[in-house]
């Protein structure tokens, strides 16, 4: 029996949802019939709108999909202005103020506190600048990810931007692919860093060479959610930029026709790959979905990958100053947990334009990159005041911190995330001496098993949990170690379970002390973890209370908003008719 969501999708889904959305916007929140809330909120996702959690009724998170995270400075300014003008909630966030943008781990943009009546105006502003929320959430082609600096990065195998643009144009608003069994995440990596992180996507294209031709190998069925992490599996197919769209469309159609529409928990293509195996998947693709002979895979470039790779010799994360193919530079700026104040976004857009940049890009590490800075302007650009907060040369604890949305807005999350990660990073920076030579250290903090902060592929993986302290429930984390991508991708081993949130910084301090003491010469943190057995890792370091103070230790989910003076659920600014 098809799931309830499938029933709602059968009635109305895809582009037509927009007309209804605009009607509701005009008539007001109360025009959405009470008994149809769930159906409409599910459908609104297709247009990038996600109803915020309990206690925040009538407010929406809005996601804008920017392929490869790319924008012009002008587009960035529009994003900042929309955040400033429409994304202000009833209460300020103590770390980030009243209006901000979140750069996500899939190179998209999220804003909160969006109200229904403002949506037509927001869409008009976005679309006037070639931006859109289309399919940013929901069961279809999501934002395509890859190198934000494609075509400019000197460390590039092939410029994938033209084919990514083609995919975006072909599969956004395409009726044949607009209603899939579940989300469909696609990564196309053309650089030699491996920055697309194709390994954790439903469909991945990894740089490869075959018979002297540059192109991509195809992988299917990656994903991290629900304690069921999978690396995308190699289906032994090589594509060129010319054949890539046909294969991508074929696989999307194969998923549309064969994915599980009865059970949403089993619907992602990773489960179909588990069931079928790669040989059957390839055979069905060949026989039913493409009309040319699929070549076998080419030679990959994994050995040279540097992005989130845990190497001690190179960090491929775009932060800092890097060469472009045209002799100019791109400058990657660290944005702690990916959250940037609206005014800062506007200021950065102005700066980028002032320096002649035609491109800014978001990375999967929640950072932002400004391209096209000439050699002669570089010193001046690097000395701009704004770069004190968004540094091109950040402390490793700032540089490596990634966090999801958390209980501030998200229904699924078990714990507070972004503000806590900010406090962790600051405390670690102020209190923990870095082991010599440690320049890159990734802490990914995710509020739950949905894994939006990609916790399984970090040096330190934090996944939201609960525990009791003196009998009282407190927010906590499971701690994993040793995950990352690169030549040999590895999911973290979960080694310390249910550690109270205020004991996590002490654990990290203790662990880094042990690493410094026992590491071999030149051994990266990830390599150090990899040479230990699971048994050795369990209890390797002790969680410990320190001078770190955690203001969010109680149950932030019981509040309507964790940072409100009166945060009690009964104090929620709920619409009168709700």
């Amino acid at each position: 029996m098809a799931s309830k969501v499938e029933g709602w999708k059968d009635e109305v889904y895809g582009e037509e949802v927009r007309d209804h959305l605009f009607r509701f916007a005009e008539e007001g929140w109360s025009a959405i019939p009470d008994e149809e809330h769930d159906a409409w909120f599910e459908r609104f996702k297709w247009w990038g709108l996600y109803h915020q959690r309990k206690g925040q009724e009538s407010y929406f998170m809005m996601r804008i999909g920017t392929p490869n995270g790319r924008m012009t400075p002008e587009q960035l300014r529009v994003v900042g202005e929309i955040a400033r003008d429409y994304a202000t909630g009833p209460v300020d966030n103590p770390e980030f103020g009243d209006a901000y943008c979140d750069w996500t781990t899939r190179q998209s943009i999220q804003m909160h506190w969006i109200q229904l009546q403002d949506i037509p105006e927001i869409f008009e502003k976005l679309e006037a600048h070639d931006l859109s929320t289309i399919q940013a959430c929901g069961d279809s082609w999501r934002n395509i990810v890859g190198s934000p600096m494609a075509g400019r990065d000197a460390d590039e195998h092939i410029d994938a931007w033209p084919v990514i643009k083609e995919l975006n144009e072909t599969f956004k608003g395409n009726d044949d692919h607009s209603n899939l069994p579940r989300k469909w995440k696609v990564a196309v990596t053309g650089d030699t860093r491996g920055s697309g992180q194709a390994e954790i996507n439903d469909l991945g294209f990894e740089p490869a060479t075959k018979d002297g031709r540059r192109g991509f190998n195809v992988t299917v069925g990656g994903g991290l959610s629900r304690k069921e992490p999978r690396f995308a599996r190699d289906i032994d197919v090589f594509v060129t930029p010319e054949t890539l769209p046909d294969v991508a469309g074929g696989l999307s159609a194969l998923f549309r026709d064969n994915g599980d529409r009865d059970d949403r928990f089993n619907a992602r293509i990773k489960f179909l790959v588990d069931e079928w195996g790669t040989e059957k998947l390839r055979r069905v693709l060949q026989e039913e979905y493409v009309d040319f002979e699929l070549p076998s895979a080419g030679e990959d470039l994994r050995e040279g990958y540097t992005y989130n790779s845990g190497r001690s010799d190179e960090t491929g994360d775009y932060v800092g100053v890097h060469d472009q193919v045209d002799g100019q530079n791109f400058v990657g700026l660290s944005v702690l947990v990916g959250r940037m104040g609206a005014e800062d976004v506007i200021e950065l857009a102005d700066l980028a334009e002032e320096y002649g940049s035609e491109l800014v890009g978001l990375t999967q590490r929640q950072n932002i990159v400004v391209a096209d800075i000439a050699d002669e302007d570089l010193d001046e650009f690097l000395a701009e005041d704004l770069l004190e907060n968004y540094s091109p040369d950040p402390h490793p604890f700032m540089r490596g911190s990634v966090a999801c949305t958390g209980t501030e807005y998200c229904s699924l999350s078990i714990v507070e995330t972004k503000n806590r990660m900010v406090r962790y990073a600051r405390w670690l920076k102020d209190n923990v001496e870095l082991p010599e030579g440690l320049t890159d250290f990734h802490i990914h903090l995710s509020g739950c098993t949905a894994s939006c902060a990609q916790p399984q592929i970090a040096d330190i993986s934090l996944r939201g949990m609960k525990t009791r302290k003196n009998g009282e429930p407190v927010e906590a984390f499971d701690i994993g170690l040793g995950g990352g991508l690169g030549e040999n991708p590895q999911f973290a081993d979960w080694v310390e379970m249910r550690v109270a949130a205020d004991e996590v910084p002490g654990y990290i301090e203790n662990l880094l002390g042990i690493y410094e003491e026992r590491r071999d010469e030149g051994e990266s943190f990830r390599e150090f973890i990899a040479r230990h057995t699971d048994d050795e890792l369990n209890g390797l370091a002790e969680p410990e209370e320190t001078s770190y103070e955690d203001p969010y230790l109680g149950n932030t989910k019981l509040t309507w908003y964790p940072y409100a003076d009166d945060s009690d659920m009964d104090a929620a600014p709920t619409p009168a008719d709700d």
Binding site: D34, E35, I414, C448, A476
Partner: protein, 114 residues
């Protein structure tokens, strides 16, 4: 009026008549349970897997973990609350912090609506 029940947003919450009633992330005390070896499981609800109605109870099977012993999995059917008068539709949630007894269903029950 029929009572509409379902889980939504990847099992983040139980909806009753299109209103978000029970959320994940609470701790539930479970007694007489097969979920783990603890006498009482201190169960963290991480996701609603299946929802059903056994009038007047709204029940669910919930994915999560006992934070005392670490066992994780899916519970048997737990009463999440009641709709005493389906015409009125008001949902009365149980208090997660009291003690609950999961039950194996004696009959097949997968009514999306009752």
């Amino acid at each position: 009026m029929t009572t509409s029940v379902h889980q939504l947003d990847d099992g983040a919450w139980l909806s009753v008549n299109d209103s978000r009633e029970v959320n994940v992330s609470d701790l539930w005390w479970l007694a007489r349970q097969d979920f783990c070896d603890c006498e009482m499981a201190d169960f963290l609800a991480e996701g609603f897997v299946e929802i059903g109605v056994d009038h007047p109870d709204v029940e669910g099977r919930v994915a999560g973990q006992c934070i005392a012993c670490g066992e994780s999995g899916v519970t048997d059917w737990l009463t999440l609350g009641r709709v005493v008068d389906p015409d009125e539709g008001e949902f009365y949630a149980v208090d997660p912090t009291s003690v609950h007894v999961p039950e194996r269903r004696r009959r097949l029950a997968r009514p999306a609506e009752s």
